[in-house]
């Protein structure tokens, strides 16, 4: 099933041309890895999907992005972001307790029932493989957790809102290999329920977890194909060069 349908997406920030005529589809219950060198437009592309670019005064876009057949411009941003969650590059806990971090989203959407909140927090933390490590100290500040735990907390926080799509923006860039493996495990499990878009600078990570892989270069979508295909027999020379580490 097609989750996102993107047509002729063109984005500028003031004078910078961030994305050029990108058209693609993102299917549900798959992990789409987005790779490419820095400044290739990966993150801009990701932040289109939950309209986070709208916060930038200089942002201009043309083309359409449809979520489940509906133009996202016609969806209320708060509702869209509820459906399309995001995990950022750095672990960014809010300055609240562990519990309050996970409960934040649903509380903002109006859930007050304590029992329901507690259940939801527990469920989300379990889904993010963090419950066992934090179940005895839910009221401590989230900043007391290690970097890897913080990032899984951020994943739990996103899951608690019960989104349909989760956007990962280089979620492991600040993590050690063991934490990275834990986050990757979580992602692979999550795709059963969610559609996942993963922006990563780590080509091997894309190969490990992605069903589909998209390669961006200077704002253009160079190639989008099954991950196996991209990593064994890419069409474009530039894709080949990038995944072999010839430039980047």
């Amino acid at each position: 099933m097609v989750k996102f349908d993107i047509k002729d997406l063109d984005i500028r920030f003031a004078s910078a041309h961030a994305l050029k005529q990108v058209s693609m589809e993102i299917r549900s219950n798959e992990i789409l890895s987005v790779i490419g060198p820095s400044n290739s437009g990966k993150t801009t592309f990701l932040r289109i999907l939950n309209r986070l670019n709208d916060l930038n005064q200089n942002f201009k876009m043309s083309g359409t992005v449809k979520l489940d057949g509906k133009d996202i411009k016609t969806i209320d941003p708060e509702l869209l972001r509820k459906k399309v969650g995001m995990v950022f590059a750095l672990p960014l806990p809010l300055p609240l307790s562990i519990f309050d971090n996970v409960a934040y989203g649903v509380r903002m959407h109006g859930m007050k029932n304590r029992k329901a909140l507690a259940g939801l927090v527990e469920g989300s933390l379990k889904e993010a493989y963090l419950w066992e490590e934090v179940k005895d100290r839910l009221n401590e500040s989230a900043f007391k957790l290690s970097g890897g735990q913080q990032q899984r907390l951020c994943i739990a926080r996103t899951l608690a809102v019960e989104p349909e799509v989760i956007l990962f923006d280089e979620p492991c860039s600040g993590l050690d290999p063991i934490s990275t493996a834990k986050v990757e495990d979580a992602m692979v499990k999550l795709k059963e329920k969610y559609t996942i878009v993963l922006v990563t600078n780590n080509v091997k990570q894309a190969a490990r977890v992605g069903d589909m892989t998209a390669f961006f270069l200077s704002g253009e979508l160079i190639e989008l194909d099954k991950t196996d295909k991209i990593f064994t027999a890419p069409h474009d020379k530039r894709t080949d060069g990038y995944i072999r580490g010839k430039f980047g």
Partner: protein
């Protein structure tokens, strides 16, 4: 031959001297005022009406007047200043209007206090017909401290990392929810500090209250916000220059009370900031 170490030593000494020069006057002011004013301080001085043309008795109405004025100023200036700061830091786009507003705030901060006094006289006392009253004085002081409150509140709001806002929005919270639950709670120490510094300034100013509220001699407590009131800084001015033969003790005692009041407010600001900074979580 030039000895670079000697040059460095001289430079170091100069810097140290300049720094000490700042401390010395502050210390002297405090020492002299405490030394000369402390003998005057007792319960009678603090809680009694002035008597014999202010040559004896206490300064109670002036203390109360100053507290009224400062409270009035804050009741007026804090909500307006805070709302304006929220607008400027969170909502306004960078355009001509915003730039004009910011310019106006900077200029407002630079206006001499006596001009505020005159402005308050024209607007509140005469035009709005509030008369010389606590209301007029509070509003005038409020306008005077608005720039301080707006500027410090804006800085406090802007010091909350932008990423927190993005995270909150990305979880589907609205902009106002983000401000209310994430930005404001983390900006409160800065806002409070600015507010209390503004208060300290309001408590000590003479010129803005001169034409708008201050009574020369009013040995009773004001009975409404439309009443005149005595105030510490003006009272100090009066007994120091306008009334002959006031005991030095009384003058320095009044100065000491005013100084203590302002220092106390600053101390509160420092403690609040320190407590929150220790609690700061990122």
């Amino acid at each position: 031959m030039r000895d670079p170490y000697r040059t460095q030593r001289i430079a170091f000494l100069l810097l140290l001297l300049a720094t000490l020069l700042i401390v010395i006057p502050v210390g002297m002011i405090v020492v002299i005022i405490v030394q000369k004013g402390l003998p005057a301080i007792n319960w009678q001085f603090l809680l009694d009406m002035p008597r014999q043309g202010m040559r004896a008795g206490g300064i109670f109405p002036a203390i109360i007047g100053t507290i009224y004025l400062v409270s009035g100023a804050i009741i007026f200036a804090l909500p307006i200043g805070l709302l304006a700061a929220i607008y400027l830091s969170e909502y306004s786009k960078d355009n001509l209007l915003t730039r004009l507003i910011k310019l106006a705030i900077v200029n407002l901060a630079g206006v001499p206090s006596v001009v505020y006094g005159l402005f308050g006289l024209a607007l509140f006392v005469v035009f709005f017909k509030f008369g010389a009253s606590i209301l007029s004085g509070s509003l005038t002081l409020g306008i005077m401290i608005l720039p301080v409150i707006i500027t410090t509140s804006r800085e406090a709001l802007e010091s909350v990392p932008y990423s927190f806002r993005e995270v909150s929005l990305s979880l589907g919270a609205s902009k106002w929810q983000t401000i209310r639950h994430i930005v404001l709670p983390n900006a409160i120490p800065g806002i409070l500090t600015g507010t209390i510094l503004g208060l300290g300034r309001a408590a000590g100013e003479t010129a803005p209250i001169l034409f708008t509220v201050a009574a020369f001699y009013l040995p009773r407590l004001p009975d409404s916000i439309f009443d005149q009131a005595m105030a510490l800084p003006y009272h100090l001015y009066v007994i120091s220059t306008q009334v002959p033969n006031v005991d030095e003790k009384i003058r320095y005692g009044t100065a000491l009370v005013l100084l203590a009041l302002v220092l106390f407010m600053n101390l509160v600001a420092i403690i609040i900031r320190y407590k929150f900074r220790k609690k700061k979580k990122w």
